[in-house]
Amino acid sequence: MQENGVWRLALPLALAQALFFLAPLMLLVGTSFATDENLTQASLRAWRDMLGDSFNIMSLLNTLRLGALAVVATTLLAVPLALLHMAAGPRLKRIILLAAILPLLTSVVVRTFSWIVILGREGVINSALIWSGLATSPVALLQTEPGLILALTQIEMPLMLLPLIAATARIDPALLDASVSLGGSLLRTLRRVVLPLALPGLVAGATLVFASAATAFISQSVIGGGRLNYLPAQVWQQAMVVFDWPVAAAMALTLMGSVLMVAGALSLLGRGARHA
């Protein structure tokens, strides 16, 4: 195959993307700058409603914070697992990988509703707490931010663990032996050898978890409930119940832009750290 013809391989996907993603996205941008969804007249009202309203800005910040907390929680749990995977024999490696993929095999709706059964007033956690005498009355878990983060940590875990394992699996064990034999302590080896080499996987995982948790409409509304406000639910409400499509479009674009900015910052961080 000639070198300069290779780009044609990307043509079908590029065309599909242009047709089914780029064109609707342009329509979305157009709608956000119009008075109604028929684009009758140009107007900045929707953007004023979105950006000039402290409630909407709070919803946006809550959404970004939720994404960030999900990244922190999944990282804290995934890193030890990835290290265990590095040290494990082939059998245990397979078990860890299977456990990582398993949640992906159930629908997100099923996973989300299972968390109602776990976190509810009469759920598994509360029953255990009361049975063991650690609590006398049910603890509020469902419809609280900690409960939502707990659920998202499980739901999003594969997105962190898989890229991380992919990165750590490529680390040459000889590098670790070299570090230790040169007098590096275990912690120093982790920090100076493993971490820099695993960083691309960590950054990729963080980006995926952040984008997925920040936009997890079903989990946010079902587990989070109406007292926690996140932007995806506001977009749905504006589009489907209030019928204000321009505001829904402005909100959707704000969410998309914010998530993209965080993803961009993460990728810069990954690149910067590698060169440092």
Binding site: E37, F55, M58, F113, I116, V117, G120, R121, E122, G123, L142, Q143, S221, V222, G225, G226, R227, L228, N229, Q234, Q237, A239, M240, V241, V242, F243, D244
Partner: protein
């Protein structure tokens, strides 16, 4: 729920397979009808669709969509209707009229129209089921509440599941609460003040579709809903009872409409006519479907606090032409008052 659905799908496909041996000659007409997901979808697929096929040779396929999703989908389609028949509650019905989504409706094309009470069909569509809205509670956990006001007392508030103005039953329940607190159909201030006060102790604030699951899981023991949901949950073993508030239960009708530009208008009329016919309404009013019939010849089920649709005029009703313009503002305000 899913199993039943799969079974009815199976029955439907078996029906299709058996067709060559059925009545020969007439061409089968295909049409699409929007239907609420869940109970409605199951009931209409199991009761209405086979009858329509058998009697009129119409093959109906269902598009399961909530009322607001039907309106959104029809608007997004911009003139090419995605389905032939809407099924809507009063709020979305008024939106549909405002957006010009329906064909003008001619009730004389419904041979069965005589079974409907006066005023149950108009220039926009016809009523096909009623809904009675009040308070549902778990009799094993809380005493029977006397009325809407009770929901704000600590023993009920801490067990209460709240849902906002996004649905018809949610909106009219909240309006009834506002009235019991000194407000009115147009004045929600007393309601919002009380909601703000009980917000930290309320058991859940959730999407309407999540309420039944939260009740089943024991997260909430009190909610506002219709008799249909109460009967359905109890038939599945959930301890739940319906309380008619002291100020009266609220009632409204669910209506069907023919989509503007529908190319199957004749079939659509037959579909609606079959839906209101006595045999279909009788089956739908009984277990396991528990619809509230609009047909004068059919007696409502035991949970419905009326013996005939004629009694619906004694129930609290609401003016959606007044409510709809105010609703967007209430939805926003509910979000804000309930936040964090």
């Amino acid at each position: 729920m899913n199993a039943i659905h799969r079974r009815s799908l199976l029955a439907a496909s078996l029906g299709t397979a058996a067709l060559p041996f059925g009545p020969a000659g007439a061409q089968t007409t295909a049409m699409t009808a929007a239907v609420y997901p869940g109970g409605w979808d199951e009931a209409l697929a199991a009761v209405l669709a086979p009858r329509l096929r058998q009697q009129s040779n119409i093959a109906v396929s269902f598009d399961p969509l909530f009322a607001v999703d039907q309106i959104a989908k029809a608007r997004a389609a911009r003139g090419t209707p995605p389905f032939d028949v809407f099924v809507l509650d009063p709020g979305p019905r008024v939106s549909g009229i405002d957006f010009g989504l329906f064909e003008p409706f001619d009730a004389t094309r419904l041979p069965s129209r005589g079974v409907l009470p006066d005023g149950y069909s108009d220039a926009h569509g016809a009523a096909v089921a009623a809904q009675v809205v009040g308070i549902a509670y778990n009799p094993t956990k809380v005493a029977k509440p006397a009325g809407w006001r009770d929901l704000f007392r600590p023993e009920y508030a801490s067990r209460l599941g709240l849902t906002g103005f996004g649905t018809t039953f949610g909106t009219i329940s909240l309006i009834e609460m506002a009235k019991s607190l000194g407000g009115s159909e147009a004045n929600m201030d007393p309601l919002f003040a009380e909601l703000r006060r009980i917000r930290p102790s309320v058991a859940a604030v959730a999407q309407p579709a999540a309420m039944a699951g939260l009740f089943q899981q024991g997260q909430i023991d009190v909610m506002y809903t219709n008799t249909y949901t109460v009967t359905l949950l109890r038939s599945r073993g959930v301890p739940i009872a319906f309380a008619v508030p002291e100020t009266g239960a609220a009632a409204f009708v669910t209506t069907m409409h023919i989509a503007k530009g529908s190319r199957n208008a004749a079939s659509a009329y037959t579909y609606i006519d079959t839906m209101i016919s006595t045999p279909v309404q009788t089956t739908l009013a009984a277990a396991p479907y528990f619809f509230v019939p609009v047909n004068k010849e059919v007696t409502p089920g035991e949970d419905v606090p009326m013996r005939s649709i004629a009694e619906i005029s004694n129930f609290v009703s609401h003016d959606w032409a007044v409510i709809n313009p105010l609703r967007a503002g209430w939805i926003q305000r509910f979000n804000r008052e309930m936040a964090g």
